[in-house]
């Protein structure tokens, strides 16, 4: 213990100077603190003394006033005054009664005035008693101290008034009698009584004042201290009970003074005391000054200590300098080693930084790959054999397969059947050869829909370059395709009407020309111009013009077939391209083109409704045909344009062909139509009957063939007027007339033994069959003519079965039910609906003349003929070959089955009379040769 104390003291020994300085500082702090505290307390005591003195003064003044108030109250409550009012209430008059009370009051007042003293002076100058009306009933004392009576009427509470001018203190108290105010007692004292309470100091200057609330100096009486008088209002506003320096007042005499305002309780008076600092605190040192003196001493001592410490430090620095030199050398060696170590660690750190960056990059790439894999495009990952290992959400959503359903499958699962196997093999070869492939691909979803996608296949290789996986990305190109379509639409279609524009038209015309050159068939161009369009534009504006163009485009589109093209060529010009009229015959082509042209003209006969306007507009149509002509597209358009101008020149609302011959033909055709219509009405058309025989040459009947004996042009070929009848709708009355004629003939035949068993085959067009009342019409004709329906055979062409076959079958069934037979004409040349063949209630197939014609020279025709024969046999149908013109043909056909025959070899078509003659001459017992010879004789 002792040894530790010794060690501690030794450790403090070198610091004795510091310890002494600290002790000195502590003692100085203590002394200064005590001195400062003492000064503060002295001042506080002086302040408290001043405050106490001021409050004492105010209390004395207050007590004086309170005494006056109490004395006045006592007088007011005196028995004499009470008696006065009692007797007054009894009705006594002053003269006979109240005088005694007033005398008693007066005596009491006089006694009070005479007896009440304050510091040796009379406390009252005057006492007065006022009745309720303010009339002074008793007034005792100095007349000079009278006040304007009453001071307060109906005074409710004691009231003190300071009359500073007359220097009076007037106290008024109410006289209460039985709780009612009956009058007032007023005491008047001299204000000077209070002068004894306000002292002056020995310096000759009054330092204590009595102030009114308005700052009026009431005391002392001598007011030499004018500064207080002039500053009274400001001094009266000083905060009460607090010593305030008067540094802000304008009166210089008061500067440096301290002021204390003590309010007199219960009044508006204040006692103001002034004192200079010396007077208040005496000539003591300022605490601040003491503090600075102490601080100066401390600073001096600290400087001394500092200098001593600096001297000691200098000595120690000298020693340390030598020591530091030695250490510096050691440090230099250490620094060298440390530098080497730092460089080594920096190298390691740089290496680590590179690895970290590589790792960050790798992670970033992985994140990118993950993000890319989960992009909006469908993606799959397969192994090298194409087995799906993974698919992203977009691909799952695209195909509708779940990820579980996809994983483990190959792309065959969602491969579209639109592409053949060769395509996929080629794609796979490319992938394996180049490591990638991209192209348009169609995906088949789980629901069977096909989606257009752009597939990109990329091979994933490992570090050795070996392919480990394939990534397939399916980009949505539907928008791209839509954009392409939009571009194409903008490039090739007219924005106003939506029709193909001039560019697309020219392209299609070029294609059609090329195609027709190959097929040797005809096409046609119709150049259409709206009549008087400019007038509309100028009168009603372009808006109406545009509306008309749109309406015209719609009407034009309704006039053509689906394969045809209606184009807006420019302005009010339209071009209709009839790419393929399906005929190699110019006349037929011209008729078809003319028919469409007429349809167009007819479409323009109705007025156009343009907003509220009904606008009639006709068109002029120019037509040119094209087939094998080696003219270019521009030439064709120019021809059609010229023809259109020809129509305009001819009076508008018309149609003209570029070729004059065509125009002539059309004109002639129109005349033919007129004649046909007229002759049909007059039933001038006839039937000629071509014999039909069985395999043994027996006459079975005839095919009725229409003949038109024109009044001026002689017999007109059916190939000439039948197309006219078909195109004009006259085929229906024509067919009805022919059917009626045939039935009449049957009826006549039924009466002749030679013809009673014969049948008549009559051709019925598809148009007739589509008539709703066709069955009823046939029945009516049979009933009207009395023909045996079992002897009637209707020949239908394959074109009849093109549409609404069920309706045809139903009608055939109804007619079949009444005994009418059916033969399918031209079998093998057109629509071979073998699937319907079985459903049709047919009795006979007819081998077309085109097959029979070359049956000996064309193996295909021969095969067809054989197939038809075999087919009819299998279906249980009879077969008839038409167009048999030679014996070789007959022999070939007879060699393949028991057929019926029709043709020149057996007889040409002939009038009914000739046929009856033939039938009569035809005998079942006759030999075939004889028959044949007879027929030929008749025909001749």
């Amino acid at each position: 213990m002792i040894s530790s104390l010794i060690r501690f003291s030794r450790s403090l020994a070198p610091r004795w100077l510091l310890i002494a300085a600290a002790a000195f500082l502590l003692s100085m702090f203590y002394l200064i603190g005590n001195l400062y505290t003492s000064q503060v307390e002295l001042r506080q005591n002086a302040d408290a003394r001043l405050v106490s003195l001021g409050e004492g003064r105010a209390a004395e003044v207050g007590d004086f006033l309170a005494e006056r108030r109490q004395a006045a109250a006592r007088l007011a409550a005196s028995e004499d005054i009470s008696n006065y009012f009692s007797n007054l209430d009894l009705g006594m008059s002053v003269k006979y009664g109240l005088f005694a009370n007033l005398a008693a009051i007066e005596r009491r007042f006089q006694a009070t005035v005479g007896e009440e003293k304050y510091q040796g002076q009379a406390a009252y100058l005057r006492l007065a008693f006022f009745d309720r009306n303010g009339v002074a009933q008793v007034n005792v004392g100095s007349s000079s101290a009278t006040t304007a009576s009453p001071m307060r009427n109906a005074l409710a509470e004691p009231y003190i008034q300071i009359d500073d001018k007359r220097r009076l203190i007037v106290v008024s108290v109410p006289v209460l009698q039985k709780g009612k105010i009956r009058g007032t007692v007023e005491t008047v004292s001299s204000l000077n009584l209070l002068s004894s309470l306000v002292s002056t100091n020995n310096l000759g200057q009054p330092h204590e004042f009595l102030l009114g609330d308005d700052g009026q100096v009431l005391l002392p009486i001598e007011r030499e201290h004018s500064a207080v008088v002039t500053e009274g209002p400001s001094l009266a506003k000083l905060p009460s009970g607090r010593i305030q320096p008067l540094s802000n007042l304008s009166a210089s005499e008061l500067r440096g003074y301290l002021a204390l305002r003590s309010p007199v309780a219960g009044t508006r008076l204040s006692v103001l005391r002034l004192a200079s600092e010396d007077e208040l605190y005496g000539r003591t040192l300022s605490p601040l000054f003491v503090f600075y003196v102490g601080l100066f001493a401390i600073v001096l001592f600290m400087l001394a200590i500092g200098f001593e410490r600096m001297r000691q430090n200098a000595a120690r620095l000298q020693i340390k300098f030598v020591e530091s030199n030695r250490h510096r050398a050691e440090l230099a060696e250490n620094n060298l080693a440390l530098s080497q170590e730092i460089r080594r660690r920096e190298a390691i750190e740089a290496d680590l930084e590179r690895q970290r960056e590589a790792l960050d990059k790798s992670n970033s790439e992985l994140r990118i790959a993950a993000a890319a894999f989960n992009s909006q495009e469908g993606m799959i990952v397969t192994d090298t054999k194409g087995v799906v290992l993974s698919a992203n959400r977009a691909f799952v959503g695209l195909t509708g397969y779940t990820i579980e359903e996809l994983v483990g499958q190959t792309p065959r699962l969602f491969r579209s059947h639109r592409r053949d196997g060769e395509f996929y093999r080629s794609m796979w070869d490319s992938v394996q050869a180049t490591g990638g492939w991209q192209g348009d691909m169609s995906l088949r979803t789980r629901s069977g829909e096909n989606c257009a996608r752009w597939l990109t296949i990329s091979a994933v290789k490992n570090e050795t370059g070996e392919v480990t996986n394939y990534i397939g990305s399916y980009y949505d190109i539907s928008k791209l395709k839509h954009a392409e379509e939009k571009i194409q639409e903008l490039a090739f279609f007219d924005q106003l009407t939506g029709l193909p524009n001039r560019v697309l038209l020219i392209d299609r015309v070029r294609q059609a020309v090329n195609a027709n050159i190959r097929s040797k068939s005809y096409g046609a161009l119709l150049f259409i111009d709206l009549d008087n369009f400019k007038t509309l534009n100028d009168s009603l504006g372009h808006h109406m013009g545009d509306m008309l163009l749109k309406c015209a485009a719609q009407r034009l589109s309704h006039c053509v077939r689906a394969d045809d093209t209606v184009a807006r060529f420019g302005g009010d010009e339209f071009v209709v391209l009839l790419a393929n009229l399906g005929t190699q015959k110019a006349k037929v082509a011209a008729l078809q083109a003319e028919a469409i042209g007429e349809k167009i003209l007819a479409a323009f006969t109705e007025v156009f409704q343009l907003d509220t306007y009904e606008y009639p507009c006709t068109a002029s149509v120019g037509v040119t045909l094209f087939s094998t002509d080696e003219c270019n597209v521009d030439e064709l358009l120019k021809r059609a344009d010229l023809a259109m101008y020809d129509a305009k020149t001819a009076g508008r609302n018309g149609l003209r062909f570029f070729d004059p011959a065509m125009q002539t033909m059309i004109t002639a055709r129109a005349a033919l139509e007129t004649d046909l219509r007229e002759d049909l009405k007059k039933e001038r058309l006839l039937l000629h009957y071509q014999p039909q025989v069985d395999h043994e040459g027996r006459l079975l009947g005839a095919e009725a063939l229409a003949r038109w004996p024109h009044a001026h042009k002689g017999m007109i070929s059916p190939s000439e007027f039948i197309p006219v009848a078909e195109s004009t709708g006259l085929i229906l009355p024509l067919g009805a007339l022919m059917l009626k004629t045939a039935c009449r003939q049957l009826a006549r035949w039924s009466t002749d033994p030679a013809t009673e068993r014969l049948t008549i085959a009559i051709n019925v067009s598809a148009l007739q069959m589509r008539q709703k009342n066709f069955v009823e019409e046939v029945r009516a004709i049979i009933e009207q003519t009395g023909a045996n329906p079992h002897r009637l055979k209707i020949e239908l062409t394959e074109s009849t079965l093109v549409s609404n076959v069920d309706d045809v079958i139903a009608k055939m069934g109804k007619l079949k039910a009444i005994g009418i037979g059916f033969s399918l004409d031209d079998f093998g040349t057109g629509y071979s609906a073998l699937s319907y063949l079985k459903r049709l209630p047919l009795d006979q197939l007819k081998i077309d003349r085109s097959f029979v014609k070359d049956v000996l020279v064309d193996s295909n025709d021969a095969a067809i003929a054989q197939m038809i024969i075999a087919l009819s046999r299998s279906l249980g149908l009879s077969v008839i070959a038409e167009g048999v013109e030679t014996e070789e043909q007959y022999a070939f056909l007879a060699g393949h089955g028991q057929l019926s025959y029709q043709g020149y070899f057996f007889g040409r078509p002939m009038p009914a009379e000739d046929f009856v003659s033939l039938a009569r001459a035809f005998s079942p017992r006759h030999r075939l040769k004889r028959v044949r010879g007879s027929v030929n004789q008749v025909s001749a």
Binding site: M92, S93, K95, Y96, G97, A100, A103, R107
Partner: protein, 297 residues
């Protein structure tokens, strides 16, 4: 004993005594010689309080001092006071006053708020007035009678007051200043109630309040005291008499004494001593008789 017999007996006795003791009447010289003045006083209001002081007591004390003799107070009452001064009893008959009988003379001067009345002047010497007085009609506070309104004419006030009496009974004290015969109240239909339980006028108001009569007569000096003593319990209805004079009475054979007293009285009035005495014992009486005190001052 009836009042008549009493008066008759007393009067005959007084006449004898008058002549027998007339030598006892003393004037100033005798009094000075004797060295003592005997003051006959009646306990009445604040004139002679009975406690050894009073207005007349102090007056007479001052007078004794002036003439250089000792002072002695001899108490008497209103019935005996003249007899005690003159040694003869007073007989009033048919408007005449005679002295009868011989009685011991007990004093030299009567000073006790003694009203100057004509019949008294016939047998006594009066000094200058020592105090004015008047007789008032007093009623209890609860009486339905109302005080008269102040009038400028005293005679009219008296008439109004007398009218107010009506059939009310009035307490009176004969042979005193409250004797109704002095004021024409006898035999005029007024119900007079003579108070004879005592000769002390101070008991009039208590007797009235004790329902012995509905009204009472009261002189001003008593009224001043009773208005304070019975404040709120009595009320003054109005005057019954003209203004009266109180004065000190001397025997007819003591003119020197009376003159000396008058000199004394003038002196103290001039010195203010008299006023102080008045204010001391009858504060307010100045207000009632302002004219009198104006003359005095």
């Amino acid at each position: 004993m009836s009042l008549k017999r009493f008066v008759r007996g007393s009067l005959s006795g007084a006449m004898v005594f008058l002549f027998a003791t007339s030598g006892w009447a003393a004037d100033l010289a005798e009094i000075k010689q004797r060295g003592e003045i005997r003051h006959i006083g009646i306990r009445y209001a604040n004139f002679v309080t009975g406690a050894g002081d009073g207005l007349d007591v102090e007056l007479m004390q001052g007078f004794a001092k002036r003439i250089g003799v000792s002072y002695k107070l001899v108490y008497s009452d209103f019935y005996s006071v003249i007899r005690d001064l003159l040694g003869k009893d007073v007989v009033r008959k048919n408007g005449e006053v005679t002295l009868a009988g011989d009685y011991p003379i007990k004093g030299d001067v009567i000073s006790s708020g003694f009203t100057v009345l004509p019949w008294r002047e016939a047998i006594l010497l009066y000094s200058e007035p020592t105090l004015p007085s008047q007789v008032l009609l007093v009623a209890p506070a609860e009486s339905d009678l109302q005080p008269i309104q102040d009038g400028a004419d005293l005679a009219a006030d008296i008439v109004n007051t007398r009218k107010a009496i009506g059939s009310k009974s009035v307490l009176v004290m004969e042979r005193t200043c409250l004797d109704p015969s002095n004021y024409g109240l006898v035999n005029v239909g007024i119900d007079l109630k003579a108070y004879n339980k005592s000769a002390n006028l101070n008991e009039m108001v208590p007797a009235m309040l004790n329902k012995e009569a509905e009204l009472t007569l009261l002189d001003v000096p008593d009224a001043i005291l009773d208005l304070r003593k019975w404040a709120g319990k009595i009320k003054i209805l109005g005057p019954i008499s003209e203004q009266q004079t109180l004065a000190t009475a001397f025997p007819k054979d003591a003119p020197a004494l009376r003159n000396e007293f008058n000199a004394y009285l003038s002196e103290i009035k001039a010195s203010g001593f008299y006023d102080r005495l008045v204010d001391k014992y009858y504060p307010g009486i100045r207000r009632f008789f302002p004219e009198y005190f104006a003359k005095t001052n």
